[in-house]
Symmetry: C2
Subunit: 387 residues, 2 copies
């Protein structure tokens, strides 16, 4: 197989700390499977570049990254004075820009965040059925509310008007909805293999083994709400085996708290997906465990980007306190993704996932530092029998 090349961008705050643990695990897995895999570190703390060029990464950053197979990102957000988490040295609009630039520049049009409450993870909901949560939230990651169009008229005056345009294309809508249906099928197939089943009812009373729920706010934001609805209904015809459902975003957020176990695949716009994935992360036990990825599923050669859902957590940065679990799950997801082309890499990804999950289950509630957790997971990997 060809060499797999990973760009590692530790970023800000706790980023470098959790990334270090991820790299140790990657190293263990590379040795174990003799993987043709290498990585390059891009230590780009936001403020350093800001001093240099007013941005928070090198001017040619995307050019430097574009030939890698994947980007493994720690966290962005300049920590600034650590005694004051509310006041960043750099405004978010600058320090987080690379995140949005990469998503856009590499056309990572899918943001995928699974929600499952794994054993050992913190359960925020009172209902015991929270243990059955098993959903995948798919966020449209390339347009919509995030196009950054708009402006401020009469800026700073009492008569100011600020506008922000949301732009949705049918093409991007179709592709994310299709992706959702494909994932629903895939998940049903995996469940079938594992001997688990779930049942969802369609409007005409049929039962299906998977479901896609589309989220909009079509009763208030009706232009794209209507387009989403039409695109969804048309696409659904090609997937008669998948049950469909429509939720308004406010109701969806409510139901994420009241009965999240009822969802399977959820497809949402960029902003609404941002909100729903954060909620989904909480349902999985919080930011300490929630992975995230920004995928370009096309055969474009452009890298996908893998980052935990959490931010740079400036309040605990530099103290070895950050939980690397989310970063390690994210790394497992990256290997799984890269494994589409190399089965050994996919196996390594599953092993990492299993090791992190086992570590989580065994250490529920214990207070451990970043390195301690990372090391425990690595030791698990090293103890596995020869592949």
């Amino acid at each position: 197989a060809q060499k797999t090349r990973i760009a590692v961008t530790p970023g800000d705050g706790i980023g470098p700390e959790v990334v270090a643990e991820a790299v140790h695990c990657l190293e263990a897995l590379r040795k174990r499977h003799n993987l043709p895999m290498e990585w390059t570190r891009f230590p780009w703390p936001s403020h350093a570049w800001h001093e240099e060029n007013g941005e928070s990464m090198p001017a040619d950053a995307l050019d430097q990254l574009k030939h890698y197979d994947a980007i493994l990102l720690g966290a962005l957000g300049d920590p600034g004075p650590v005694d004051d988490p509310d006041r960043y040295l750099l405004p978010d609009s600058i320090s987080l820009a690379p995140l949005l630039d990469m998503r856009k520049g590499f056309d990572q049009w899918v943001c995928e965040r699974p929600a499952r409450l794994l054993p050992g993870a913190r359960q925020y909901l009172a209902d015991e059925r929270a243990k059955d949560i098993d959903m995948l939230v798919i966020r449209e990651n390339s347009e919509g509310e995030y196009v950054s169009q708009g402006g401020r008229l009469r800026k700073g005056s009492p008569d100011e008007v600020a506008t922000q345009m949301e732009v949705f294309t049918r093409r991007a809508t179709d592709r994310i909805i299709r992706y959702g249906f494909e994932q629903a099928r895939l998940r049903a197939a995996v469940r079938a293999e594992e001997g688990r089943t779930r049942q969802f009812r369609t409007l005409d009373g049929k039962t299906c083994e998977s479901q896609v729920c589309i989220v909009t706010k079509r009763n208030a934001l009706r232009y794209w709400g209507d387009m989403y609805t039409e695109a969804f209904e048309e696409m659904a015809k090609q997937y008669p085996d998948v049950a469909t459902h429509h939720e308004l975003v406010d109701a969806a957020c409510m139901k994420f708290v009241q009965a999240p176990w009822a969802f399977d695949v959820v497809v949402a716009s960029n902003l609404q997906g941002d909100i729903l994935t954060d909620l989904a992360a909480v349902l999985s036990g919080g930011m300490g465990v929630a992975p995230s990825c920004n995928l370009n599923p096309d055969d474009s050669g452009m890298p996908s980007m893998f980052e935990p859902t959490h931010g740079s957590a400036p309040d605990i940065a530099g103290q070895g306190l950050a939980d690397p679990t989310a970063m390690l799950f994210t790394t497992a997801r990256m290997l799984e993704w890269l494994g589409r082309k190399d089965p050994a890499v996919a196996t390594a990804g599953r092993e990492l996932f299993d090791a992190v999950a086992a570590d989580l289950a065994e250490n529920a509630g214990s207070r451990r530092g970043t390195q301690e957790i990372g090391q425990a997971v690595r030791e698990r990997l090293e103890k596995l029998t020869r592949p």
Copy 2:
């Protein structure tokens, strides 16, 4: 005192059922306090008007309503075939339009939804501190994401582009933020009276007895995000006694599930407020208990509108199953609001609130029908000693 006039619009689905209970309680309170208060019923089911004029209310609806002191609304949303809750007879965009028309037409620029977990209400969160939740979510109700500007280019074609404009004015931003600070002060004063206190820390280490948290998504929607931030920071100078806080909407939703007891007053835009108030409703025990109101706090003579947070619940409409608790809390809030001009009305509002809260506390978990709950509350009111 002048006669208080209330327009009662039962609406669709469970609306008429829960409104009937509210009116019985109003009647009991009117007798009890000899209140100069009258109400007029406007039975405007959405589909009836749709057949008549293509809308879901009379063409001169706002003219008919504008001289009332308040509007008490049941719920909107055409139930359609009751065996299929997902398929409405009328699309939401038609049947719910009166809600948005009234908010706009009567400049009800504040939407206020309190969240407290009253004894007897369902607790969705595992953490016991959920019992301490005591926040007020204030939603900007007049502009922003809800201006309904935009369109669909090449509608229905694969090349379609749908746009939706968000429009924010500094004037509306200032007034909602000021309203938030005023409410924070008021709440602190009420707490002080009741011998309760809360403490919030400001950025420079001072402690305050109240807090306003502003919510934006300024790292992605930066035009209005920046304007909101500036308006908030400037307004804060006039309220040095109130602690301030800024949350991004995704983090805010997360924290509403992880630590909602840490919030006091939360101010958010129209759409983000829509989402946060639905979450707040869940924190209060769900749609069965969550009141809501759309206020025009100006001395404009235009009516404010009071509606429960819940919808028309077509799936249970007509069966006497709907919980009228949210509607009764909403009615209490209306009386409190109207009571700004007539202390006897305010007293009636507090009595109603107390009666509903007592009923809720005593009947936790019991399955009772709409009328049974309404009657139990009314009997409580009738048993009160003479005022």
